[in-house]
Amino acid sequence: MIGRILTIARKELLHILRDRRTLAVMFLIPVIQLFLLGYAATTDIEHLRTAVLDADRTSQSRELVEAYRASNYFDVVAYVADEEELARLVDRGEVRAGLIIPAGYGADVLAGRKASVAFVIDGSDPNVANTVLSASQQVGQAEGLKIIERRLGISPDEMVAVEVQPRVWYNPEMKSVNFMIPGLIATILFTLTIMLTALSIVREREQGTVEQLMVTPIRPFELIVGKVMPYVLVAFFDVLEVLAIGVYWFGVPIHGSLGLLLALAAVFLITSLGMGIFISSIANTQQEAMLTVWMILLPALFLSGFFFPLEAMPGFLQAISYVIPLRYMLVIIRGVILKGVGLNALADQVGALLIFGIVIMVFAATRFRKRLE
């Protein structure tokens, strides 16, 4: 039995080593995905291109502009003469925000009256707009406090009745890359194993080699285990690869135990390998397998909490997310890497993954028969 499993595994390894394209997919794609998402999918806003319409032209108005610029959130790239010009720049996408300081701003500040400015935000991307909105308010409030402080001669700290001292745990700098990379590891693990197992088994059917295997003494179980073994190795190699880049390049700290992380990744693998095997049992061609993988993958990516927070989704979508195994792995991997939690805190998720894994594996294995239809 072991002999036959190893024979299949060795053959599979030869297929992998001789197929340059598959090799590239297995080892380069995760790295490319990591760099793309690590840099591109960040929601941190810095140096947003901003235009200024300063109709006041006083030292007070210049001080306000300087405050925005100094915040690092905004880069003042243009001064415009009127609102039409500002609108044109926003339309063309040359700037994403605009600060409008009306004439009389300086006079109002000096006279102790309520001074107002307008802040225009390109809201086409709500994620960016949200961050910009709060940044613009923060900078404005800070400037307002400074003005009050100067006027009253007392520190604003003394005036505040309730002071909120925010403490951000786990990811104090709130760097989105710290949040993205653990999620990405889980996603890569999921995508890669589901796809590679499905394709490798379907390939045997497509090439007709499965018919030849059926007349040998091999048991379906041995064939499956032998075939997925090399891909398990590849998956773990990819996890370590992405983890290393995450830690040494992006500076993501790992607060928890690496051993626990790998052990739980193995639990998760049961599920994704099982899904891959299941797909291979319903698809006749590699193309069909690929399409089916995507049909499973896309909802998984969007409903697992990888891109969008689950808490923000409507109830029925949240309900669906419970049947998406990736959801549990995301909680696990973010928990171990970012929070440094142990098995105790993750018991529910690990339990859910085990149940999923066993159910899918058993289901997939029973569908896999040594018979042609």
Binding site: R4, T7, L14, E211, V215, P217, L372, E373
Partner: protein, 320 residues
């Protein structure tokens, strides 16, 4: 002990089917097949594409269940004891089904290991099979880079690695050049002499001549099953080979003549079955001349398997 249907049943037949039937959604591929094949036979299953040859072989190899009926191979039931059968048979599917990215040697080693052939035994058998199939000098070439004929020989070598008693070959020579075809059949004959039972399907009628017994399959059932000589004897009348100008007109002119049983076209030849060659040849010659069709040759010939089968299939179609 063997009343419960398990275990080998002693029988003079190594392949035995009983009302073997396979229905797919829209067609009945195999329809109540009755086959009895003795140890050591070369049995040829002949028939046009879609006759049900592949489905029959798959059911006999225990990788497809019949819808109705049953089959015993090497004494075991194909549905209840498939693994016992697989130990004793070799199966070469019609489609090339080895690993193209693996070398000749790697493919052989792979199947040897799957069948649990011991290491020492393995080296010896592989060397012998490579020589037998004349592939020794290509052992490090990837299977995908072999010619069609060599691929077939490699596939055959792989199916022989566990020394099966019965060998099923599904159209082993389709798409192979004539020289390789002849060579392949020489190898099969050698196996036959070693005592292996061979079950070969083929669309080529000339290959039927090399079988000890032949079954003609058409639309899922056996039309005839006998030794080649007797099948050829089934054809009524005698055969005249005519080489006329304007083939179709000539056929039309000959068909209504008295004593003409059947006219078949072969390239630029007409094969005319008549009740008596001596009596009808002059009539045909005359009829064609009157119709203004030149005749370049007219001679009596022995019916081959091909004419026999075409004639039998036509008769079957006319019966409906």
């Amino acid at each position: 002990m063997s009343d419960d249907g398990s275990g080998p049943r002693v029988s003079e037949y190594v392949i035995e089917t009983d009302n073997l039937t396979k229905r797919f959604k829209h067609v009945t591929a195999v329809d109540g097949l009755e086959l009895r094949i003795r140890r050591g036979e070369i049995f040829g299953l002949l028939g046009p594409d879609g006759a049900g040859k592949t489905t029959t072989i798959r059911m006999l190899c225990a990788i497809m269940d019949p819808t109705e009926g049953s089959a015993r191979v090497a004494g075991f039931d194909t549905v209840r004891e498939p693994e016992e059968i697989k130990k004793r048979i070799g199966y070469m599917p019609q489609q090339f089904s080895l690993y193209g990215d693996l070398t000749v040697l790697e493919n052989l080693v792979f199947f040897a290991d799957i069948f649990g052939v011991g290491r020492e035994e393995r080296e010896e058998r592989i060397a012998r099979l490579l020589e037998f199939s004349r592939l020794s000098e290509f052992q490090d070439r990837r299977a995908a880079h072999l010619s069609g004929g060599m691929q077939k020989k490699l596939a055959l070598a792989c199916t022989l690695i566990h020394q099966p008693q019965i060998l099923f070959l599904d159209e082993p020579t389709t798409g192979v050049d004539p020289v390789s075809r002849r060579e392949f059949w020489d190898i099969l004959t050698e196996l036959h002499l070693q005592g292996v039972t061979l079950f070969v399907s083929t669309p080529y009628m000339d290959e039927a001549e090399r079988c000890s017994r032949v079954g003609l399959m058409f639309e899922g059932s056996l039309i005839v099953c006998d030794v080649p000589e007797r099948i050829k004897g089934l054809v009524e009348g005698e055969l005249l080979e005519v080489r006329p100008d304007r083939l179709r007109e000539a056929a039309h002119a000959i068909e209504p003549l008295p004593g003409v049983l059947e006219v078949q076209t072969y390239g630029d030849l007409l094969h005319v079955f008549v009740d008596s060659a001596d009596r009808r040849a002059p009539t045909i010659q005359q009829a064609l001349t009157e119709a203004g069709i030149a005749v370049h040759g007219l001679r009596q010939t022995r019916p081959r398997m091909e004419e026999a089968f075409i004639s039998l299939i036509r008769k079957r179609l006319e019966e409906r």
